[in-house]
C-alpha cells in the first residue's frame, strides 16, 4: 500500500516548496524522478525484510513442504498426495464438522448476545456504564491458555466449582469435559465468555455513530422500541456485524488454544479442531508436509467463507 505513495502527486510537493513557484513540473517527469529516489524504499525496507523473512518465506516454504512427504529423513515430492490424503482422512472431516458446529451454533449465539449487550451498554438508563463496559471487555484481556486452564479447573468433574455449585442445588455432577457433547458445550461456553464482551465493544463503537436523528425520526413516526431496534439499530450495525462475523469465523477456523488446553481435542475427537489436528500432525507425528497441507486447506477455506459472508451480509450495490 505504502509503495504506491511515491508516485502520487503529494510526495514531490514538499521539496519543491523551497523552489520558486514559477516552474511547473509535468506530472510524468515528477513521477519518474520520484521513482529514482531510493529513500522511500529504504524506509519500508526493514518492514519488508521482516515480513519477507517471517511471513512470506514460511508461507512459501510451507507450500513447498505440503507437496512433500518425509520418509526416512528424505523429502520425497508427491505432488498433491498430501491433499488427496486430506480428503480421505476421517479425522480431518471430524475437525471440519466440529468447527462447522461451532460456527453454526456458538458464533450466532455469541453475536446475538454481543448485540444485546451493546444496546444495553449504550442505554442512557444504565448507571455506571463504563464499569459494565470494562467488566464485559475484561475477559478478552486474559491470555488464551490462562483462561483455558481456569475453565478446566472450574469444570473439573470431581473438584470443580461448577459441579460443586450444582451439587448445592441437588443437581448431579456434569461430565463437563469428559463426555463428547458436554465437552462441546463447555468449549462453547468458554469461547462465549471470552469473546462476547470484545464483540460487544466493537458493536458499541458503531452504535454510537448511528445518527440520533434517525431515532428521533423513528420516534416521531411512532415506532416502538422493538421496531426502532429492527429498522434503525440493526441496519446501522450491519457493516460492523459483518466485521465481527468475519473475525469470529476466522477465529473459529483457527481455534487452537481453548480445545488444546481444555480437552486436548477429545473425548473421542468431539472437540478436535483443524488447529489442534494441524498441531498434532506437525509436532506429535512429525508429519510436517501433511500439517502444511492442512494449513493450506484451512487458508483456502477461510478465504471462501470470508467471501461468502461478504456476499451475504455485505451491502447491496
Amino acid at each position: 500500500m505504502t509503495a504506491a505513495t511515491p508516485a502520487g502527486p503529494a510526495a514531490p510537493a514538499a521539496p519543491r516548496a523551497a523552489r520558486p513557484p514559477a516552474a511547473p513540473v509535468r506530472p510524468a517527469a515528477a513521477r519518474r524522478r520520484a521513482r529514482r529516489r531510493p529513500a522511500p524504499y529504504l524506509f519500508v525496507l526493514p518492514a519488508l525484510l521482516l515480513f519477507g523473512a517471517f511471513k512470506l518465506y514460511p508461507i512459501g516454504s510451507s507450500f513447498v513442504l505440503s507437496l512433500h512427504r518425509t520418509e526416512g529423513g528424505t523429502q520425497t515430492f508427491i505432488g498433491a498426495g498430501n491433499y488427496e490424503r486430506l480428503l480421505d482422512d476421517p479425522l480431518f472431516w471430524t475437525a471440519l464438522k466440529n468447527t462447522a458446529v461451532i460456527l453454526a451454533v456458538q458464533v450466532p449465539v455469541m453475536l446475538a448476545l454481543a448485540t444485546g449487550l451493546a444496546v444495553a451498554l449504550n442505554s442512557r438508563l444504565l448507571y455506571g456504564r463504563s464499569v459494565f463496559r470494562l467488566g464485559f471487555f475484561l475477559p478478552m484481556v486474559t491470555g488464551l491458555v490462562a483462561y483455558g486452564i481456569v475453565f478446566s479447573v472450574l469444570l473439573n468433574k470431581d473438584y470443580g466449582l461448577a459441579n460443586w455449585l450444582l451439587a448445592r442445588v441437588g443437581a448431579g455432577p456434569v461430565p463437563w469435559l469428559t463426555h463428547p457433547l458436554w465437552a462441546q458445550i463447555s468449549l462453547g461456553l468458554a469461547l462465549t465468555w471470552h469473546y462476547t464482551g470484545y464483540n460487544a465493544v466493537i458493536l458499541l463503537a458503531r452504535l454510537q455513530s448511528v445518527p440520533a436523528e434517525l431515532y428521533d425520526a423513528a420516534a416521531v413516526d411512532g415506532a416502538g422500541g422493538w421496531r426502532t431496534f429492527l429498522h434503525v439499530t440493526l441496519p446501522g450495525l450491519r457493516p460492523v456485524l459483518l466485521l465481527t462475523a468475519v473475525l469470529s469465523t476466522i477465529g473459529t477456523l483457527q481455534l487452537f488454544d481453548e480445545p488444546y488446553v481444555l480437552t486436548g481435542g477429545g473425548p473421542d475427537n468431539a472437540t478436535l479442531t483443524i488447529g489442534v489436528y494441524l498441531y498434532q500432525n506437525a509436532f506429535k507425528y512429525f508429519d510436517f508436509g501433511y500439517a502444511s497441507a492442512i494449513a493450506y486447506a484451512l487458508a483456502v477455506l477461510i478465504g471462501i467463507l470470508g467471501l461468502i459472508q461478504f456476499r451475504v451480509l455485505g451491502e447491496k450495490e
Partner: protein, 453 residues
C-alpha cells in the same frame, strides 16, 4: 448503509485480510521446517574434558544431579549441568530442537521408548551414533529385547537403555482379603473378572481404573500391556499394522467385559484422577509398571502392609505374565560438540551398577542394566508391601524371554487412534473388533503401512 463508493476497496482489503490470516497459520506449520538435515555437525571432542548439558525430568533429573559429584571424581574436567525440563514438556522441546537441526539441544537427552524411533527415523543424524564411542561393548548388559530397541538395524546405536519397566499388578491385599478372594490364585484376566465381581459386591471397590475419555495419551497403557502380555504390539517386526489382530481384539474385548460388568472406575483427567483414586481406594488394583510401587509408597504412606504386588494375570490360560512395557534411554545429540564427554557421562550413569543401584534406592526406577540386580536392594523384603521381595518379582519378569516391541516412527499416530477406539468402547459401548479394524484401516491410509490381521 450509505457507505457508498469506498466499499469495494474495503471489501477487497478485508477479504485479503481473511486470506492472509489463514495463510499466517499456513506459515506457522511451514516455519517448523523439514527434518531432512536435522542434527549432525557435532564433533566427538575429548572424552574427559568439556562442558555438557543433560535434559531429563523430575525424579530421574534429580538423580542425575545427585550422581554428578561422583562422576566428577572420575572426570574432574567435565562440567555437567542437569536441567529438569519436565515431562511431557521435554518431548516438544527435543522435537523443536531436532527440527531446527540440533540448535539449542542439550548434549545428553533422556528419551522414552515411545519417542525414540520417531526421532531416529524423522531426524536422521539428530542423535549421535554411540557405537564408535564404545556403546557396542555393552550390547549384552541389558534386559532382553532392549538392545533391539536402541539399535534396531544392528548398525547404529541411537541410545543406551536406562530404566526397564515390567507390567505389574499392585493390589490392596486388605480389600481382597475382606472379599475372600485369593489374589495370587488369579491366573488369567478372565479369572480377574470373576474375582472383580466378588470384590465389588463385598467391598464396593472397583477392580481397576481407566481414563475413559482418554484425557491423556497414556490412557491406553492397559490395552497396550494386554497386547504385550500376548507378545504382540501395534506393529509387527516388519512395521506392518497389527491393530486388527485377534490378540488386539481379545485385549479390547476384555476391557469391554470389565467395563460392562461395572468393574472399571473412570480416571478421567489422567494423573490427578489416578492419584485421587489411589488415595480414596476407589480401585483395588492398579495394573501399572514397576515404577508405580514408589508412587504408592509416597502417596499413601499410612497404608503400609495393606498393599501387595504380583505380575499381571495372563491374557490366555498358560500365557505369559511378563512384559517389559516400556523403557527410557539416554541419547547423545548429533549436534553436540562434546559427544565423547557426553558419552562418558552416559556410560557412567547407565553401565555402572553402583549408579543404577543408587537411583533405584532413591526413586524406585528399575534399571535395564542386569548386573545391577546383584545388589541386595533388589532382594530385600519390603515392609510396605507386606514383606514381599518386590525387586525379585519384577526381576523375574525382566529375565523372561520376550520380543522387542516395534514402536516405529508412527507410534504417536497409532496411539491416538487406539485411545480413540478405546474411548468409543468405554463411553459408547462400541464393538471392539469394529473400532480396531477402523483404527487399523485409518492408520494404514495415513502412514502407507500395510494392515495385517
Amino acid at each position: 448503509m450509505g457507505q457508498g463508493t469506498g466499499f469495494d476497496r474495503r471489501r477487497m482489503l478485508k477479504a485479503g485480510g481473511a486470506l492472509a490470516a489463514g495463510a499466517g497459520l499456513a506459515g506457522a506449520a511451514g516455519c517448523s521446517g523439514s527434518g531432512a538435515s536435522a542434527g549432525g555437525g557435532g564433533s566427538a571432542g575429548a572424552k574427559d574434558k568439556g562442558r555438557i548439558t543433560v535434559w531429563s525430568w523430575q525424579g530421574p533429573a534429580a538423580e542425575l544431579k545427585a550422581l554428578t559429584p561422583e562422576f566428577n571424581k572420575r572426570y574432574p574436567d567435565i562440567q555437567v549441568t542437569v536441567e529438569d525440563i519436565g515431562n511431557p514438556a521435554i518431548w516438544d522441546k527435543i522435537t523443536t530442537g531436532l527440527a531446527a537441526g540440533g540448535q539449542g539441544l542439550a548434549d545428553v537427552l533422556h528419551i522414552g521408548v515411545d519417542y525414540l524411533p520417531g526421532y531416529v527415523e524423522k531426524f536422521p543424524g539428530g542423535l549421535a551414533d554411540l557405537g564408535p564411542l564404545g556403546a557396542t561393548a555393552h550390547k549384552d548388559a541389558f534386559a532382553p529385547g532392549l538392545w533391539e530397541t536402541v539399535a534396531p538395524t544392528g548398525k547404529k546405536v541411537n541410545a543406551l537403555p536406562w530404566e526397564a519397566n515390567s507390567g505389574g499388578f499392585w493390589y490392596r491385599a486388605d480389600l481382597f482379603e475382606k472379599a475372600g478372594v485369593d489374589a495370587e490364585a488369579i491366573q488369567t484376566w478372565d479369572d480377574a473378572v470373576v474375582a472383580g465381581k466378588q470384590l465389588k459386591a463385598k467391598t464396593g471397590a472397583f477392580l481397576i481404573g481407566l481414563d475413559k475419555p482418554a484425557s491423556q495419551a497414556d490412557a491406553a497403557n492397559f490395552f497396550q500391556m494386554l497386547l504385550q502380555l500376548q507378545g504382540t504390539f501395534y506393529f509387527d517386526p516388519e512395521g506392518r499394522i497389527t491393530l486388527g489382530s485377534p490378540e488386539a481384539v481379545r485385549a479390547m474385548t476384555l476391557i469391554k467385559t470389565l467395563n460392562d460388568a461395572g468393574l472399571v472406575c473412570d480416571l478421567a483427567g489422567g494423573w490427578n484422577a489416578l492419584m485421587s483414586a489411589l488415595k480414596k481406594g476407589t480401585a483395588a488394583v492398579h495394573p501399572m509398571p514397576t515404577w508405580f510401587g514408589g508412587i504408592i509408597e509416597e502417596q499413601v504412606p499410612d497404608e503400609a502392609g495393606k498393599w501387595k504386588v504380583r505380575l499381571p494375570p495372563a491374557v490366555r490360560r498358560g500365557g505369559s505374565t511378563a512384559a517389559t512395557v516400556n523403557s527410557t534411554h539416554l541419547a547423545v545429540a548429533g549436534s553436540s560438540k562434546h559427544q565423547a564427554a557426553a558419552w562418558s557421562f552416559v556410560e557412567f550413569v547407565l553401565t555402572r551398577p553402583a549408579s543404577q543401584v543408587r537411583i533405584y534406592r532413591e526413586k524406585g526406577i528399575a534399571p535395564a542394566l542386569m548386573s545391577a540386580y546383584g545388589d541386595a536392594v533388589f532382594h530385600e523384603p519390603s515392609a510396605f508391601f507386606s514383606g514381599q521381595k518386590r525387586g525379585e518379582i519384577f526381576l523375574a519378569a525382566l529375565k523372561a524371554p520376550q520380543p522387542a516391541f516395534h514402536y516405529t516412527a508412527d507410534y504417536a499416530r497409532a496411539l491416538k487412534l487406539v485411545t480413540d477406539a478405546q474411548s468409543k468402547v468405554l463411553l459408547k459401548g462400541a464393538d471392539p473388533a469394529a473400532v480396531l479394524k477402523e483404527a487399523a484401516d485409518q492408520l494404514a491410509r495415513q502412514t502407507g503401512r500395510k494392515a495385517v490381521r
